[in-house]
Amino acid sequence: MNNLRRLIIKGSMAAGTLGVAVSAGLLMPTTVLAAWPANAFGAKDMTEGLANLLGSSDMAESGDIKIKAPDIAENGAVVPITVTATMAGVESITIAAPNNPAPLVASFDLAGGAHGYASTRIKMGKSGDVIAVVKAGGKLYTAKKGVKVTIGGCGG
């Protein structure tokens, strides 16, 4: 009885370690290659997308983030956005437009002496806020700016 029990425990442990080794070996290359977080950028809801991307949706508003964007964008297909974060240790800058069909627009991971600065041009389907989320020192900070769009850039 006891012997059988030992055997079963041993067997299950061996199988367990094997399973872990296999899954680790299989998962390693995919995580490296497919770093693009599909569940974050594919999310229809901004809070969900941000939580999937950054691991948390718990963020504080901060005055240290400056969003440079036009008050009125004539063409929603091209809205220039510049985000400057003056806090120390900026790890990433994420730009989102909550009124877009895919609210998460872009995320910049910064390393190796890169400044808290990112600039790009985004599409906006409707008037609304542009939200910047900055990850600095493991915490999330956010700021937003309203942009009025006269011609949408996402519809056809």
């Binding site: 091209v78 627009v105 910049f108 190796g112 400044h115 990112a118 041009r121 599409k123 056809g156």
Partner: protein
């Protein structure tokens, strides 16, 4: 993609390098309708942009189809004088391109 899909300008000034890059890509979000066929135009956009200097990744951007057509991006970092910057993009169809530029 076309041979020259990337234009990079990297300027070093007072200890800081400012990188500006212009990529050529249609950045189709997948949310647009094709007026001729009535179907949706399939998504085709850049998902990842990686900037390296001296083999070190400085900036790794993940994009959705919400970035404008022929995307522009800019970022800044400390140092980098006289080094070479390498930018690589990959889109959702697995196409990619890379270019190098000297920081001046």
């Amino acid at each position: 993609m076309a041979a020259k899909s990337i234009k990079i300008r990297a300027k070093f000034k007072e200890g800081v390098t400012t990188v500006k890059a212009l990529l050529t890509h249609q950045m189709e979000s997948g949310f647009r309708k094709d007026s001729k066929t009535g179907g949706m135009i399939p998504a085709h956009y850049i998902q990842e942009v990686v900037c390296e200097v001296g083999g070190k990744v400085l900036m790794n951007a993940h994009w959705s189809g919400g970035v404008s057509k022929n995307p522009y991006l800019s970022f800044k970092f400390d140092g980098g004088e006289g080094e070479t910057l390498k930018l690589t993009w990959t889109d959702n169809k697995g196409e990619s391109d890379s270019a190098e530029a000297a920081i001046s």
